[in-house]
């Protein structure tokens, strides 16, 4: 038995070791490139395409979203294929988190889709590493028409003066509440232009009037530093980052921010750390606002109608992000964007697709305000009569808040790590492992070290 056992074990071990390493090293890009098949475009000859439209071409388009959005975008792509029979569009989609993991791997492996959905949070990671095409090429060639786009919307897609993405839809964040909940508690609705003091008073009032059965709002101290903390820094005349890629806010601002949340948490007006953590990544249908644990939550305006679908009673309404007494406006343009990847073999066809997506009535009559209000002024007029009341409220909100928006700096390399650090430090405070001052001090030191690398 012993001999057999030993050799069996050695054999099993060697296999395990191999598997271990394979599992670890499957992170290498070679692997992704080898295993994911790269669709071969039917036409490899680029130079002829611009002149000869009859050549068949295949491009790939990818987006994030839920099932409803996938159906919607598939329908838009179908219409595009009807209009341009020589262009076939392969579709790839996934949830928000998976989307970015996959895109990273695809870009690294050299087989990224031609048209990719982009977002402010991530665009600098790709643009600063040269993975995205300068869109002015296709605008100049006439494939992509941006004449109906306001300058501010176009500028929101520029990084260091290069146009890397164009908005599918423009949206603005704010805080949402359900009128039914407020009516029942006999509390006044929040004011459109409320301040952080008003906000703190309101959530405390909700908590007290509900007899402790309802928290005022979600805990906005940590998680992603944008939009909440970013608005706060901008209201102080600062920002998350400076134009030359350094930390753009002071330790004092950070201490003020975390102290405000810490006080609310200690009062019981916002959820405790463990509950907050549990719901951190919950899908919309199960988050704290929808399940009735909190009365106010922070969302982008284009999601109002998604939230409205979850409630049979009351109306979901939105107010601005709280303002700072005597401070500046924190607003900056947000939205979902489309980019073309640098390695795309068919940038002109990709541009035609984007053009159809953002400029044609056939597309917009389906899109409406799916990922925000259309940035093209003609198109935003066109979709207006097609909207449901909740979507209409979103558009009204966006249009009311948009004028406050000013330019915003894009994140430097290393922003993903700083975002993680921000969220880590915030939970250390929430769980009582660190004081606000300690956490802020440690954040500044470590964040600067990350940016120095």
């Amino acid at each position: 038995m012993s001999k057999m056992m030993k050799s069996l074990m050695l054999y099993a071990l060697s296999i395990i070791m191999l598997v271990t390493v394979a599992a670890c090293s499957s992170n290498t890009p070679n692997d992704a490139a080898n295993t994911t098949s790269t669709p071969k475009a039917t036409n490899q000859n680029d130079s002829n395409q611009q002149n000869d439209k009859k050549d068949n071409v295949e491009i790939r388009f990818t987006w994030w979203g839920d099932t409803t959005r996938n159906e919607l975008y598939n329908a838009i792509v179908d219409r595009f294929e009807e209009e341009y029979p020589h262009i076939k569009v392969k579709r790839e989609f996934g949830g928000w988190g998976d989307y970015w993991d996959r895109l990273t791997t695809q870009v690294a492996g050299g087989n990224a889709p031609d048209v990719v959905s982009m977002h402010q949070f991530y665009v600098s990671d790709y643009a600063r590493r040269g993975a995205l095409l300068d869109l002015s090429q296709v605008v100049d060639s006439g494939s992509l028409d941006l004449t109906n786009f306001p300058e501010s919307a176009i500028n929101s897609g520029r990084i260091n003066d290069t146009l890397y993405m164009v908005p599918k839809g423009v949206t603005m964040p704010g805080w949402a509440y359900n009128t039914a909940v407020f009516d029942e508690l006999g509390i006044d609705y929040p004011d459109m232009n409320w301040t952080w003091e008003d906000y703190a008073a309101k959530v405390t009032e909700i908590y007290e009037k509900s007899g402790g059965s309802l928290w005022g709002s979600v805990d906005g101290s940590g998680g992603q530093p944008q939009p909440n903390f970013r608005y706060f820094t901008r209201q102080h005349g600062q920002d998350l980052y400076t134009a030359d890629g350094q930390i753009g806010f002071t330790e004092e601002t950070l201490v003020k921010w975390w102290s405000m949340w810490d006080e609310l948490r200690k009062k019981g007006a916002i959820p405790d750390a463990a509950t907050g953590t549990e719901y951190e990544n919950a899908p919309l249908e199960q988050n704290m606002f929808v399940t009735g644990l909190v009365a106010i939550t922070q969302i982008p305006a284009n999601q109002i109608y998604l939230y409205q679908q979850q409630f049979s009673e009351g109306e979901i309404r939105m107010v601005r992000m709280p303002t700072l007494t005597g401070g500046q406006n924190g607003e900056y343009i947000e939205g979902a964007y489309l980019s073309i990847t640098e390695k795309s073999k068919h940038p002109e066809e990709a541009a035609l697709f984007i053009d159809f997506f953002i400029n044609s009535e056939r597309s917009l009559e389906l899109f409406k305000v799916e990922q925000g209000s259309p940035a093209s002024t003609t198109m935003s007029e066109f979709v207006k009569p097609l909207l449901e009341p909740a979507q209409q409220r979103a558009v009204d909100f966006i249009q009311e808040v948009l004028p406050y928006a000013t330019d915003a700096v894009y994140a430097p390399l290393g922003a993903a790590e700083i975002q993680q650090l921000f969220s880590d430090q915030a939970s250390k405070i929430a769980f009582g492992q660190m004081s606000v001052e300690e956490a802020a001090k440690a954040f500044m030191t470590e964040a600067q070290a990350i940016l120095q690398r």
């Binding site: 038995m1 012993s2 271990t20 390493v21 969220s423």
Partner: protein, 296 residues
């Protein structure tokens, strides 16, 4: 030379049959492995070509507090979870070995968690079970105990993962069962005549004779546990939180590679893990001479 030719002539069919596996190993394991070894000496963000930086990644690792956290959390998971899992598996195996009827059925049933315990679905289920409104809490409420937010509290989150590992006791249990069957019945009879109690029989007869199986299980489970990923990834929502309390080594490696775009550093971490597991295994093999007893 001639001999080599001869050997090839004799064996080429064998290699042909092996080729699917050989190609798989070379393209999916060996080459990526070598690539990751090279990348571990570079700074590589996956977009721009890797830059050779020597041992910098390895040096940074030892100063990275989060890396130390991840190593600590993983070690705790492995060195607490695996022994508990094996004790549990052995207990069930001993119970099933008493000749109860329907053994095959129970053996199959208990083996099932091992098959899909590492899946996403089970991790999601675990999240529900130990959530603040989960089954565990409603059970505790009925019994009049305090409830707790198990998965979202830094002091208990890791233990929910350890419980999940223990629950997957099926495969070591089956191996224990096989080992128990090998213990010669005469030894039990002899010890019974000598007046040994049940406990004495277990500690003096059964346990020494199944040490090879214990050793085998220990090595296999430890190697497996060091690479645990799915449960922590799903239960913490990819963050390794709360407060890094479920930040498994592989999870941090994944974050470094795919969210922070530091593939060179992630590769270095992978190679360190390989060395670490190799050392742990080597230590087990060395000590095994002292406590593993082979018959004959």
């Amino acid at each position: 030379m001639n001999k080599l030719k001869q050997a090839w002539r004799n064996n080429w069919v064998g290699y042909l049959f092996l080729s699917p596996w050989l190609i798989g190993v070379l393209t999916l394991s060996a080459i990526p492995m070598l690539a990751s070894l090279y990348l571990s000496f570079t700074s590589y963000d996956m977009f721009t070509p890797p830059k050779f930086i020597g041992l910098d990644n390895y040096a940074t690792m030892f100063q990275d507090a989060k890396w130390r956290d991840s190593l600590r959390v993983t070690s705790m998971y492995v060195f607490l979870g695996v022994p508990l899992q094996l004790i549990f598996a052995l207990a069930i195996a001993l119970f099933l070995n008493r000749g109860i009827s329907g053994l095959k059925f129970y053996r199959a049933i208990y083996y099932v968690p091992s098959l899909f315990g590492g899946s996403v679905a089970i991790a999601l289920l675990w999240r529900q079970l130990f959530g603040s409104k989960g089954l565990v809490n409603s059970f505790l409420t009925t019994l009049g105990f305090e409830t707790k937010n198990w998965i979202a509290s830094p002091d208990t989150a890791l233990y929910t993962l350890i419980v999940l590992m223990i629950w997957q006791f099926g495969s070591p249990m089956v191996i224990f069962l096989a080992g128990l069957k090998q213990v010669p019945i005469e030894l039990y009879e002899a010890s019974k005549i000598d007046g040994a109690s049940k406990w004495k029989q277990f500690s003096r007869v059964t346990l020494p004779l199944i040490t090879p199986v214990v050793f085998f299980n220990l090595v296999m489970q430890i190697i497996g546990a060091f690479q645990a990923f799915t449960s922590a990834y799903i239960i913490s929502g990819g963050s390794g939180g709360p407060l890094n309390s479920t930040l498994f080594y592989t999870l941090y490696l994944y974050q470094k590679g795919f969210t922070h775009f530091q593939m060179g550093y992630a590769s270095a971490m992978a190679w360190f893990l390989l060395l670490f597991i190799a050392c742990a295994t080597a230590i087990l093999f060395i000590t095994s001479k002292k406590w593993v007893y082979y018959q004959e």
